[in-house]
Symmetry: C2
Subunit: 273 residues, 2 copies
C-alpha cells in the first residue's frame, strides 16, 4: 500500500512539535472528496485555499505539487477524503512571523466513511446548538485552523441519529451547521447566510450558488429558518443533505433540495452505506 | 545536554500529523518563566490551565507529571521559558470528540531571550493595531490554541523598536496588547480591561490584581486609554513593561508601574540583555 500521508511532498506521519499550525492554529485546510482519483470540486478548493493564503499572508501552495501529493495518497482508493493542511511552519516562540518563512504542507487521505443511505433520500434530523460563533470579518469565509468554536458546538450532542447542529453567531443570525453551509427555500426563492462576517465560504456552497442561479445571500434569523419550505445543508464531502427535522418541526424532502441531491450524485457525491 | 522537549513524559521532537491541536487548534497552552528551576507563577499557570481544560472539556493534566517534565527540560538552564501545550490528541477526521480521548502533553524549554535593558527602566514604544479581536465569551480568558487574531495583529509591524501593539475588540473596547494584558492609572486609580468577553486572563495580570489591591476591571475605550497618567503591560515571561509612547503621546515612567517593575524584578522577572 502506498503511504496515505505526505508532508512537503514525501511520505511522513509526524510534524515538528514547534510547528505554528499546532502552536497557534496558524494555517488553513481543505477537505476534498476524490472519486476514482478525481476531485469534482478541485478548482474550487484551490481557489479557496488561495484566498485563505492571501488573507493570512501565506504564499499559495504550488498547485501541481498539491495535485501530485493527492494522486499519491489516494492511489488505490476508489473513494477517498483528502485533508490538505497548510501551516506557517516552524519558528521561534512568539506571534511574529518567522523569517525566513517555510510553510508546511500536509496531505492525508482516508477511505470515505459512507453515511446512512436514508440520510440522502429521506433527509436528516438536526438540532440547534447553544454555542455561538464570534463575528470576525478578518477570518470569515476562509477555512483556517482555528476551529474551537466548531469543536465546542459539535460536542453538544452525541446521539448518532442527529446528523448536524445549526449554529448562530453571537448576534443571533443563522451561520450554518457545524461542518456545513445552510440553504433555505421559501416561496420558490433560495437564501443562504452571508459568510463575510462569520462562517466558512464552503466550496459546495459555491457550487450550489452556480447551479441555483439566483440565491439571496443575507441575514437569516431563526424565524425565517423555521418558516422555510425547504432547508438543506451543503458540505464538500457529503454533498447536499435535506433537513427533515429541526426544533420540533418536520419537513418532507422538497423539490429544490431533492434535485440537487440527485444532480450531485451523478458528480460522485453522496455514497451511502 | 538533556532533551529540551518532552511529549507525554518522554523525550521527543515530533507529533502525529493527525493531532487535533494541529487540525483544529483544539487545545491550550501556557508559557512559563523558570528561574533557577523554579517558576514564580507556577500555581497561577496550573490554575489557568485547569480553567481552560474545564472550558474545553479536557481532563486537567497531572500536576506532578507536568512539574517533572518542566524540571527535565529546564535542567541546566538558569533562565528558561517553557511552553506547555495540551491538545485533545489524535482522532478520526471531524469535529466530534475522539473516543477514547487521549490528550497530548508537550513541554518544551528554551533559554530566555532577554529584552533590551532600557525597555524595563525607560519604558517601551507601542502602537495601535488595526486587527480587531472577536467577542467570544466561550473562549475569553483561557489560553487556547486559536491564535490567528494575535498572529495577524503582530504581523502589522516589523520595526524592532516597537515592542507591542494595542488591540481593540470588534466593538471598539481596548483588550490589551498582542501578547500582554494592559493596565492604566488615572488619578491614582488602576483599571484593566475585563477578560470575560475577549482577551486572555493573564497569569501576570492575576498577580498584579493581587499586588495592587483595588483595580477596576471594566470597559476601556481609546479616550480613557490616552488620558491615562500611566499605562503598563503585563506578561507572564516579561513581567511588567511601562508604555512611554503610543499614538503620538509620550509618558514618563510613573510611580505605580515603576514600583511593579522593581518588585517583579526581585521575583526574577525582567532579565535584560
Amino acid at each position: 500500500m502506498s503511504a496515505r500521508i505526505r508532508i512537503d511532498g514525501a511520505p511522513a506521519t509526524v510534524v515538528d512539535a514547534g510547528d505554528r499550525g499546532l502552536a497557534y492554529g496558524d494555517g488553513l485546510f481543505e477537505t476534498v472528496l476524490f472519486v476514482d482519483g478525481r476531485a469534482p470540486l478541485w478548482r474550487r478548493h484551490l481557489a479557496r485555499l488561495a484566498l485563505g493564503c492571501a488573507r493570512l499572508r501565506l504564499p499559495a501552495p504550488d498547485a501541481a505539487a498539491l495535485a501530485a501529493d493527492c494522486a499519491a495518497v489516494t492511489a488505490g482508493l476508489p473513494r477517498a477524503v483528502v485533508r490538505i493542511t497548510l501551516t506557517r511552519g516552524s519558528g521561534p516562540r512568539g506571534y511574529a512571523q518567522p523569517a525566513p518563512l517555510q510553510p508546511l504542507r500536509i496531505v492525508a487521505a482516508a477511505a470515505e466513511a459512507p453515511l446512512p443511505r436514508h440520510w440522502y433520500w429521506q433527509g436528516i434530523r438536526v438540532r440547534f446548538c447553544e454555542t455561538r460563533l464570534a463575528v470576525q470579518p478578518l477570518l470569515a469565509g476562509i477555512k483556517h485552523l482555528n476551529r474551537l468554536e466548531q469543536v465546542l458546538a459539535r460536542a453538544e450532542w452525541d446521539d448518532p441519529a442527529i446528523a448536524e447542529g445549526i449554529v448562530f453567531d453571537t448576534e443571533g443570525r443563522v451561520v450554518g451547521a457545524t461542518a456545513a453551509n445552510l440553504f433555505l427555500v421559501r416561496d420558490g426563492c433560495v437564501s443562504t447566510p452571508r459568510v463575510d462576517r462569520c462562517g466558512v465560504a464552503g466550496v459546495m456552497r459555491a457550487e450550489l450558488l452556480d447551479r441555483l442561479g439566483e440565491v439571496r445571500q443575507g441575514d437569516i434569523d431563526v424565524d425565517e429558518l423555521m418558516q422555510a419550505d425547504e432547508i438543506f445543508l451543503s458540505n464538500a464531502v457529503r454533498g447536499v443533505l435535506l433537513v427533515t427535522e429541526l426544533g420540533g418541526r418536520l419537513w418532507k424532502p422538497g423539490p429544490v433540495g431533492s434535485r440537487l441531491v440527485a444532480d450531485l450524485h451523478t458528480l460522485g457525491f453522496g455514497a451511502a452505506a
